[in-house]
């Protein structure tokens, strides 16, 4: 029996009956309605939905920055009560600290480590995201893609077991965006984090995720969950890829019909 338990991939995160409303009195807006989801350890999940549907709100609730109106978020069997360094949020708008260098940013969360360990850790993650030579540069001296790498490295440096990414590549040009996706997949495979990735880009979700959670317009509900069982690296001109992509297109299209 013990062997059985070990071989089953255990549930990392469960969302149980989450509801979220903003405002009060007559001006109540329902943002999330009855969200249930189980995420396995090491899984890459994309939350896909139209802009403004509430998927960022959902990610903020999972990250502990917002309290749901009802329902609960359970991670590793414990209800989430607030933000936690074991799960790092990577922001939509670039959240690198502009007053710190690349090194300073990556080492930001490492204040509990000894100096030598901190230096070693920073060097490792500088290399992982390919920013050697830019250790002393300030964010305003970097391109958008490089800033995004700094933020990902800053998150990874504290060795979290989950990453929450909120449209992290939205502001990048399309070539950099593709490159960053490949990088993220490489890092995900190397570091085996559980990833929740919010996007409104259907292609992006099918390229990255193990499962795509398709959300409806507001109030956001889980419309469907698509298993993307294509091994990495994914051939984005393959039949299987295109079929999955088109089927999501159709679902999102339906969600837009009145």
């Amino acid at each position: 029996m013990a062997g059985m338990v070990q071989t089953t991939v255990r549930s990392k995160l469960s969302l149980n009956g989450l509801n979220m409303t903003f405002g009060h009195g007559d001006e109540v807006v329902d943002v999330l309605e009855n969200i249930d989801l189980e995420v396995r350890e090491g899984e890459f999940i994309c939350l896909l939905g139209p802009s403004g549907c509430g998927k960022s709100t959902l990610l903020n609730i999972v990250g502990g920055f917002l309290k749901p109106s009802s329902g609960e978020v359970v991670i590793d069997g414990e209800p989430v009560r607030g933000p936690d360094p074991r799960r790092i949020f990577v922001f939509q708008e670039r959240g690198v600290f502009p007053w710190l260098t690349v090194e300073g940013n990556i080492g930001f969360g490492l204040f509990r480590l000894s100096r030598s360990e901190k230096v070693r850790r920073i060097a490792h993650y500088v290399e992982l995201v390919g920013l050697q030579g830019f250790e002393r540069a300030y964010p305003h001296e970097l391109s958008g893609g490089m800033k995004q790498r700094v933020e990902v490295a800053r998150a990874l440096a504290v060795n979290p077991d989950m990453l929450f990414l909120d449209e992290p590549f939205g502001a990048l040009d399309s070539i950099t965006r593709l490159e960053m996706r490949r990088e993220l997949l490489r890092i995900w495979r190397a570091e085996r984090k559980t990833i929740l990735f919010v996007t409104h880009d259907i292609e992006e979700s099918v390229q990255l995720a193990d499962r795509v959670v398709v959300m409806s317009t507001r109030p956001a509900r889980i419309q469907n969950i698509m298993e993307i069982n294509i091994p990495h690296p994914r051939d984005i001109s393959s039949r299987r890829y295109l079929d999955l992509r088109d089927s999501i297109f159709e679902q999102i299209g339906l969600a837009h019909k009145i």
């Binding site: 920055f65 607030g82 933000p83 936690d84 360094p85 959240g95 007053w99 300030y138």
Partner: protein, 253 residues
């Protein structure tokens, strides 16, 4: 503006003004108001008597202490008031009532508390600098992007660490604007304070020169010195904006 114009045009304007001043004195046959040349003589006179340096040093010392104390107290105070909405709401009426009172209105109170001493002048400078610094810091805290604060909390920072490592640096560009305004005010106030409360400094020089036999060439010399030193102080504090860790707050590439 071309490069040579950037230097020559302001120079020409200054020369024109000096000429206008010179001829105005001659045309009006005034016996009291000095010509530019008299003022120059005044400056040299002050310099040779060793008063120039002594008075400047005394004024700068008072500003240094009063302004320094305001910086040391004002920034932490502004951070706390900006961070805790209840603290801001509680103190807001008091701040709003005290703020429009000119520092000069405090002179009698200051003299009552500290006597005719350096401390009285320093207290006035402290008071005058404190408000711009506190208000700019509060403003900076309110303007600090929420995502920086969220990121700080995400990495498990305690509130004091969050304030010092995230909120303070995020607010720093606005704080520096406040520091600059406060330094300007401090310099205005030291001159006024020295006219009443002490017996040295550039403000004292002006009022003393007038009282001791209407020596207006020294009055105007004192005024010009105050202007030049004020400009130097402002230029000095503006250099802060050029620090690499602050550039993001002042230049938008």
């Amino acid at each position: 503006m071309k490069r040579w114009e950037a230097y020559t045009l302001p120079l020409l304007a200054a020369i024109a003004l000096l000429l206008l001043w010179h001829w105005s004195v001659i045309w009006t046959h005034t016996s009291v108001f000095p010509k530019p040349a008299d003022v120059q003589r005044g400056v040299i006179e002050l310099f040779s008597k060793g008063l120039l340096w002594g008075y400047t040093r005394d004024s700068l010392y008072r500003v240094g202490v009063g302004y320094g104390a305001a910086v040391l107290l004002g920034i932490p105070l502004g951070l706390v008031l900006g961070w805790y909405p209840t603290a801001a709401q509680t103190t807001n009426p008091v701040i709003q009532i005290l703020r429009p009172i000119s520092p000069l209105a405090w002179i009698p109170v200051s003299v009552l508390w500290f006597g005719v001493t350096d401390a009285a002048a320093i207290f006035l400078i402290f008071l005058a600098s404190l408000f711009p610094i506190v208000l700019a810091t509060m403003d900076g805290v309110h303007g600090a992007p929420g995502m920086f604060v969220d990121a700080g909390r995400n990495f498990g920072l305690s509130t004091p660490a969050l304030l010092s490592r995230v909120v303070f640096p995020a607010a720093l560009p606005r704080i520096i604007i406040g520091l600059r305004i406060a330094l300007g005010v401090a310099w205005l106030v030291v001159v006024a304070a020295e006219m009443i409360a002490v017996d040295s400094g550039l403000g004292y020089l002006i009022i003393d020169s007038r009282n001791a036999g209407k020596r207006y060439h020294l009055v105007v010399a004192g005024m010009l010195l105050i202007g030049v030193i004020g400009l130097c102080l402002d230029t000095g504090i503006r250099q802060l904006e050029k620090f690499k860790f602050l550039r993001w707050g002042f230049y938008h590439e």
